[in-house]
């Protein structure tokens, strides 16, 4: 955190300070602030107390193959069980003497060289679960058994909320609120354009619509509605100045990149974002994964797509990378051996990545190897919640992490050292 002030780009710093003290567009905030008495005071106070750090959770939906991210070097098992699909030692981008990266992970390898990439292989939930549905649900909820109506980030946000918080404190990119953010007031939006009021050809301009809303909602019969409308109009006002640049530039990577664009834009523009989530789907490679050295192979395209999106993300946020930590996870890894279709079935241990600010570079956690398996899968040796907890504990606001991860031992002594 001490490196944060120097690292923040000038524009970002300006906007954050501006937001904190005056509110975007001054008038816009003042216009709605009276709906929520403490908004102005609360925001100014929050600005001085709030950490500038941003945590971005990227969830690879479908069970991303960990052995296509981080491969053990000098281990003949993989080549034997995955003929033509295992990453050859000679092609791997070296992490250290023990592990290497997929050859398509050039940007992430670059982050590693800069001391900004950490990897946890053999990560996952202690309770065996090879169903996408329940494994994703439990990871989103930050639990290992049962169900919870709130997500782990939702509980964190709720526990650390101030008397009043900026509606853009937490943003989930996607349709509907991301499961990990449930229980919070996070904004869910598929893109930045959706945070603007549309005139939709009505003939009423968005300014005119906002004016009518601002005038009518204080009279709503439901107090819940009154508060939400005020916050909604705050968002509209906050995002309005960047509405013209709400769409990504032409050079921005499509596919996985699209989900990361709103987050990159908000961070680079200095919005008071603290938590963001994005879902990248399509990792359920049951057949034809292909060769890691073939750029057109299915698995290579997935890995390269992630790498390009992450690379563009860090390029765009520039110096804000020092205060931004990206956490990449997936519901489970895949079977070590190929199935009959050249793909892999649902497995156990996966690879988590922690990228960006505050990272302790390298590979962390226990590595059980590829011979001592869990019914043919990489054994889960590192509880994913300890990685989540360490990132929150080191980069987030102070809070009781045992309340965020009920039933898990996430004391600092259990952390894996992914953060510096």
């Amino acid at each position: 955190m001490d490196d944060t002030p120097i690292a923040v780009p000038l524009l970002g710093m300006d906007r954050r300070r501006f937001l904190g003290v005056v509110g975007v567009g001054g008038g816009a905030l003042a216009a709605t602030a009276w709906l929520r008495p403490s908004a102005l005071i609360g925001r100014a106070a929050a600005a001085s107390a709030a950490p500038d750090n941003v945590i971005v959770e990227i969830f690879l939906r479908g069970g991303a193959d960990g052995l296509s991210f981080v491969t053990p070097l000098g281990d003949p098992t993989l080549a034997r069980l995955r003929p033509g699909v295992a990453i050859p030692d000679a092609s791997a981008l070296t992490i250290d003497g023990r592990f290497g990266l997929h050859p398509a992970m050039v940007r992430i390898a670059g982050l590693l060289r800069d001391g900004r990439a950490a990897f946890v292989p053999a990560a996952g939930s202690p309770s065996p679960n090879r169903s996408h549905f329940s494994a994703q649900a439990m990871m989103d909820q930050g639990i290992a058994a049962g169900t919870s109506t709130s997500g782990w980030l939702g509980r964190y946000l709720q526990a650390t909320t101030g008397s009043i918080e900026d509606p853009l404190r937490a943003v989930g990119v996607g349709n509907g609120l991301a499961a990990s953010l449930r229980g919070s007031n996070a904004v869910a939006t598929p893109n930045l354009q959706s945070l603007a009021l549309t005139s939709a050809g009505t003939g009423a301009s968005s300014t005119q619509i906002a004016a009518a809303l601002r005038a009518t909602y204080p009279g709503a019969s439901s107090p819940v509605l009154r508060a939400a409308a005020a916050a909604g109009l705050d968002i509209v006002a906050e995002v309005a100045p960047i509405a013209a640049g709400a769409a990504p530039p032409a050079t921005w990577p499509t596919g996985f990149g699209a989900a990361l664009w709103p987050i990159a834009k908000l961070i680079a523009e200095g919005f008071p974002l603290e938590i963001a989530t994005a879902d990248l789907g399509g990792w359920d490679e049951h057949d034809a994964m292909g060769s890691p050295t073939d750029p057109n192979a299915n698995q290579t395209k997935l890995v390269a797509g992630l790498d390009a999106a992450v690379g563009a993300f860090f390029d765009w946020i520039g110096g804000a990378a020092a205060r931004t930590t990206v956490l990449v996870t997936t519901e489970f890894g895949r079977r070590i051996a190929l199935n009959g279709s050249g793909g892999t079935d649902h497995g156990r241990g996966m690879v988590m990545m922690v990228l960006g600010g505050g990272v302790n570079p390298g590979v962390h956690g226990d590595w059980p190897g590829l011979t001592d398996t869990d019914a043919g899968d990489v054994r889960v040796a590192n509880d994913y919640r300890r990685v989540f907890a360490e990132v929150l504990g080191r980069r987030g606001r102070a809070t009781d992490l045992t309340a965020v991860f009920p039933g898990a031992d996430v004391r600092p002594s259990t952390w894996l050292g992914v953060m510096a």
Partner: protein
């Protein structure tokens, strides 16, 4: 009511209106910079203090809440005094309007008129006897989504099983919008959430249409005991909560997932007086309850997978003992016992009271105790319990306070603008439903946990959700882009053009809200559009007026 022409005029005035609306010179608003700033601080104050309006007859309840101290001006010039008190409108609408709002997916003047003519109690009774209401027109609409009417075997045979999710979402919303069995549809929604099954759960997807049709819809007003047993034997539920895999042969232990939710969510509730031992005992009791095959089978009990477990040697669960019974009969008897349990009665009555009356109703309130007593006196029959709640003074006095959930928001917008079903646009409707309700966070049948979509206003009113709601209302203002006769603004504004803007707003409000617009909102909309009540009406303002009314807070509540 002012607008319900049976047939739109042949000449399409909607095209004329929407075509001209793109013309910037035709826009009624030219200079808004200053006005907007004024509205932000000043006009709003007037609007709020004028908010104690009378709406739809009946008594008006006003509550005064302490509010914001004046905010000092920051960087912008307007210095109009901010309000020192906020007067909140919580109107008590007329009984027919209240019933139309609370017991359907959106009030329309047509339904309010029907309730008024029939009398509210008679209308509720008619709605509870839903099978006698001719709804073949809606069933014909649903036929556009074939998987909604198919069995699991047919869906499996047809391939592309995942289409079931989108087709069921569209079919559900079509029924909510165009159906005539309003209260039945509300109760279907209620039970779908009470016995939640996420249609995205891979193993369950192809079984959900059968479950929805033959279990939830068929039994939504019948005996809860029958509904509970039918759900317990429904392949969609057996797969969703893993019960179909629960077997105790070969030294295996039963899977506890369904047993736990049966007690915690479906019947007595988490504080219902059972413990972990009971959960395990129920899991044993229900071992062997499964399905023939995953892809097309119905219910099957496998005696070889079943054993009574600890209950065979004594003990009870919530007062129930097997008394020598085993196998399927024992499980069925236990489910009926649970359905008749007082805790179940109280819990169901409270859940229904929250849904239909409001979140302020407590589990021990008289209205809940009364409804639970009716349920028990009628051997777990649902309709008399619902009737007891809906004829209570608590229901009558509940006011327009509950926020529409996204499915209600979407459906009520479509109903308000009187969009008609058009078979050739069935796929457009389907993609609108899935896209818009995904954006709003409530795709039908898609809540990912066994507890169902939350029935709490706060859950649905995030800041981002409000923007999405407003934008959807703006899109509804021209019937989501549909042309006449599917959408025709003369159904909203009347076939003879209004003379003034004020007349247009008043006509549109009655058509869209089934009641007059609150005077404060009327004033605000006039100000925002830069006009006065007596300004000459121009058809180019049609969409703006409809959008403003649909976006008003009055339209967000029911």
């Amino acid at each position: 009511m002012t607008t319900s022409p049976a047939e739109p005029p042949a000449d399409s005035s909607s095209e004329r209106a929407s075509g001209l609306a793109d013309d910037p010179d035709a826009s009624p608003s030219r200079s808004f910079g200053r006005r907007q700033a004024l509205l932000g601080l000043g006009v709003a104050a007037v609007a709020v203090t004028a908010a104690a309006c009378e709406a739809g007859g009946g008594t008006t309840t006003t509550t005064t809440t302490p509010s914001a101290p004046p905010i000092p001006p920051t960087t912008t010039p307007p210095t109009t005094t901010a309000p020192t008190t906020t007067t909140t409108l919580a109107p008590t609408p007329s009984a027919p309007l209240h019933a139309a709002r609370r017991l359907s997916f959106g009030a329309t003047p047509e339904w309010v008129a029907e309730i008024t003519a029939m009398g509210t109690t008679a209308w509720i009774d008619r709605q509870l006897a839903w099978e006698s209401i001719d709804d073949r027109a809606t069933e014909a609409i649903v036929a556009s989504y074939p998987r909604a009417l198919q069995t699991a075997s047919e869906i499996t045979a047809g391939g592309s099983v995942s289409s079931t999710r989108r087709e069921m979402a569209a079919a559900t919303m079509a029924r909510a919008i165009w159906g005539r069995r309003h209260l039945h549809e509300m109760l279907v929604d209620f039970w779908s959430n009470h016995f939640n099954i996420d249609i995205n759960h891979d193993a369950s997807t192809r079984h959900v249409p059968t479950h929805d049709r033959d279990v939830i819809r068929r039994l939504a007003t019948r005996r809860f005991a029958d509904l509970l047993v039918a759900v317990a034997k429904s392949p969609a539920m057996l797969l969703y909560l893993d019960q179909a895999l629960s077997r105790v042969d070969g030294g295996r232990l039963p899977i506890e997932n369904y047993a736990r939710e049966l007690l915690e969510l479906h019947t007595v509730g988490v504080d219902g007086g059972y413990d972990e031992t009971d959960v395990k005992e129920v899991a044993w009791l229900l071992s062997g309850w499964g399905i023939v095959t995953r892809n097309d089978g119905g219910f099957q009990f496998r005696p070889q997978w079943h054993a009574m477990g600890p209950l065979a040697t004594g003990g009870d669960v919530l007062g129930w003992r097997p008394n020598g019974r085993t196998g399927l009969a024992a499980g069925e008897a236990f489910l009926v016992h649970l359905a008749r349990h007082d805790r179940t009665a109280r819990r169901l009555a409270h859940e229904l009271a929250v849904r239909f009356i409001g979140e302020h109703v407590g589990p021990d309130d008289r209205v809940v105790r009364d409804a639970a007593a009716v349920y028990r006196a009628n051997d777990t029959a649902i309709a008399p319990m619902v009737r007891s709640l809906l004829l209570s003074t608590e229901f009558r006095d509940a006011g327009a306070r509950r926020v529409k959930r996204p499915m209600e928001w979407f459906a009520s917008l479509v109903r308000a603008v009187q969009l008609r079903w058009e078979p050739s646009r069935a796929s457009n409707f389907q993609s609108s439903v899935t896209t818009q309700l995904a954006l709003l966070g409530q795709v039908p049948l898609s809540w990912p946990a066994p507890d169902g979509y939350p029935d709490a206003d706060e859950r649905w009113c995030s800041a981002g959700a409000m923007v999405a709601r407003w934008n959807l209302a703006a899109q509804a203002s021209n019937g989501f882009g549909a042309s006449a006769p599917q959408f025709d603004p003369t159904r909203i504004l009347g076939s003879t053009p209004p003379a003034t803007v004020g007349e247009a707003i008043d006509r549109a409000a009655l058509a869209l809200l089934s009641e007059p617009l609150a005077p404060s909102a009327r004033t605000a909309i006039l100000s925002a559009t830069g006009q006065t009540s007596s300004s000459v009406w121009r058809a180019t303002s049609t969409r703006a007026v409809i959008a403003h009314i649909l976006q008003s807070p009055q339209n967000q509540v029911r």
